[in-house]
């Protein structure tokens, strides 16, 4: 619930009085003193300087002033300072309806004709005060929500792996670029009881706190079934059933690719449920495309079947989420999977490929204007079995 902000401990409200008449300034100051934190300005130039340097919450603004008039002040506040919170109450002797309409259209909140009864002026300032306190409450509520989501995002980042697995012949790099604080992307890799490597890339529909919560559900199921000999098909069934039971009412779903890589046997077993295709480059040949053959999870019952692909002497497995390519260029054109795929195909097999430099490598901005979370995993498998680690985004052979 939004705090109405009327508690006595609230900081006093600041009011800027702008009028070229010293008499008017003194008059207004005399009866507002003690109620508000007052600042005075003798013309528009002074008012703008005061607003820029100190800010204010309410402005009592005369219209006809030398150097810079009231209308210019309103336009400067709204268009240049981009301050839409300042409550501007125009106080002017000009009673033309044209000027009133112009001022209100430019961004004034209220308009009073001088001379004005003290009681009415106080009542109008009271309206402004209520608006200011509501704005303060909204800002406090927004800050609290922001802080909570930030805490979710921090926790979520800790759920993603940072170190490369110490399996001979396997090197892993990861990329994670959330579009907002909390995200629905999830990737993971960990060793299996039989010495293989399980690799996971998932994308929860939507983004934000709800997607992050569902992501943590999926991660828990994936992590806690490890060691129980749960094969991929049974794992996917478990996740699909749980999602259908708990989150399907709102239409949430999860795309999931998971693979068990057995370097010794030279084989990768996998299931792709609604996820973007996964790129596999074997012995520097043209990339294979492991397309989704199962629907995304959480929508309806599915009987899952595992597929497998043979690995080579050297194999690259490249996984990504759709956020990597679903963003708009400055010309307004939307990038697509095919362009992303072709550009990646030319890069991921190169010696010294660094995943953290993916976007510049593809000829895109270092930080593209992403609409969705973007994640990628790059895995290189060598059957010769040299041990590798990743440090600062660089692959190093272990001594």
């Amino acid at each position: 619930m939004i705090d109405q902000g009327m508690q006595s401990g609230d900081a006093p409200i600041s009011v800027l009085i702008v009028d070229d008449s010293k008499t008017v300034r003194r008059y207004l100051e005399s009866f507002l003193r003690g109620r508000y934190l007052l600042m005075l300005a003798a013309d528009g130039m002074e008012a703008v300087r005061c607003l820029r340097e100190q800010g204010s919450e309410i402005c009592l603004l005369d219209m006809n002033m030398p150097r810079m008039d009231g209308l210019e002040v309103i336009r400067h506040v709204r268009n240049t300072l981009r301050d839409n919170d300042l409550y501007i109450l125009v106080l002017t002797a000009d009673d033309s309806s044209e000027q009133k309409t112009t001022a209100l259209n430019a961004g004034a909140n209220d308009y009073l004709i001088k001379p004005v009864e003290e009681a009415e002026l106080l009542a109008r300032i009271g309206v402004a005060e209520r608006q200011v306190r509501l704005t303060r409450s909204l800002r406090r509520a927004y800050a609290a929500i922001y802080q909570e989501i930030d805490q979710i995002a921090q926790l979520q980042r800790r759920l993603l792996p940072t170190a490369s697995p110490l399996i001979p012949g396997i090197a892993v790099q990861s990329l994670y670029v959330p579009s907002s604080q909390a995200s629905g992307d999830y990737f993971d890799y960990f060793t299996l009881p039989d010495g293989g490597l399980r690799v996971v890339m998932a994308d929860v529909s939507g983004h934000g706190a709800r997607a992050a919560f569902i992501m943590s559900m999926v991660r828990t199921m994936i992590r806690f079934t490890n060691g129980h000999g749960r094969d991929l098909a049974r794992l996917f069934s478990l996740i699909n059933d749980q999602l259908r039971f708990f989150v399907s009412d709102e239409g949430d779903f999860v795309t999931l690719f998971a693979a068990d890589i057995h370097p010794g046997r030279g084989i990768m077993e996998f299931i792709n449920a609604g996820h973007t295709p996964v790129m596999v480059v074997i012995d520097h040949a043209s990339p294979q495309r492991l397309k989704a053959t199962m629907p995304a999870l959480g929508v309806f019952p599915i009987a899952f079947t595992t597929q497998s692909t043979q690995l080579g002497e050297t194999s690259i497995v490249f996984l990504f989420t759709d956020g990597c390519y679903e963003w708009e260029s400055s010309s307004g054109a939307m990038h697509d999977l095919e362009t992303f795929w072709d550009r990646c195909a030319a890069e991921v097999d190169k010696e010294g490929f660094v995943l953290n430099e993916l976007f510049p490598l593809l000829g895109w901005p270092e930080k593209p204007p992403l609409r969705d979370d973007a994640s990628a995993l790059w895995i290189r498998l060598q059957r010769s079995g040299e041990m590798h680690t990743i440090k600062n985004g660089m692959i190093r052979k272990q001594a």
């Binding site: 779903f253 609604g274 995304a296």
Partner: protein, 128 residues
């Protein structure tokens, strides 16, 4: 006289990227442009209100011919709508989904989950 989806106009409403018309026996929703997370919550709320006031076994036709881009929350909205209608023993049809919509639904392997209509005459033929 030929029946067409854009024929007899009923109660109408609109918001950014969505318009709707309540027809006799069914509801037509017209989506356009980018259907993304900025809009889907609003659209879901709007549709939910319409369905709460609808007749039993509601039929919704979602015209997606003018959708340029559909993100995962947009797909989620369609799944939500499908589930909501199923609870009410109703049906959801996607009318002439654009190439972009088809590609996106195909990528997540949910294209066959939805009932698609390409021929309006065939659909309208179901109504007396």
């Amino acid at each position: 006289m030929k029946k067409q989806l854009d024929a007899a106009r009923g109660t109408q409403g609109s918001m950014r990227n969505m318009e709707y018309e309540i027809r006799e026996g069914w509801l037509k929703i017209l989506l356009s442009g980018d259907v993304t997370s900025e809009l889907t919550r609003q659209i879901k709320n709007e549709i939910e209100t319409l369905l709460d006031n609808s007749s039993p076994r509601p039929i919704v036709v979602c015209d997606m011919a003018r959708v340029r881009f559909l993100d995962s929350s947009g797909i989620g909205m369609l799944v939500f709508l499908h589930n909501k209608l199923r609870q009410k023993v109703g049906r959801l049809y996607l009318y002439q989904p654009s190439v972009a919509v088809r590609k996106t639904l195909d990528l997540v392997q949910l294209l066959s989950f939805f009932e698609l209509i390409d021929d309006e005459m065939e659909f309208l033929g179901q109504f007396p």
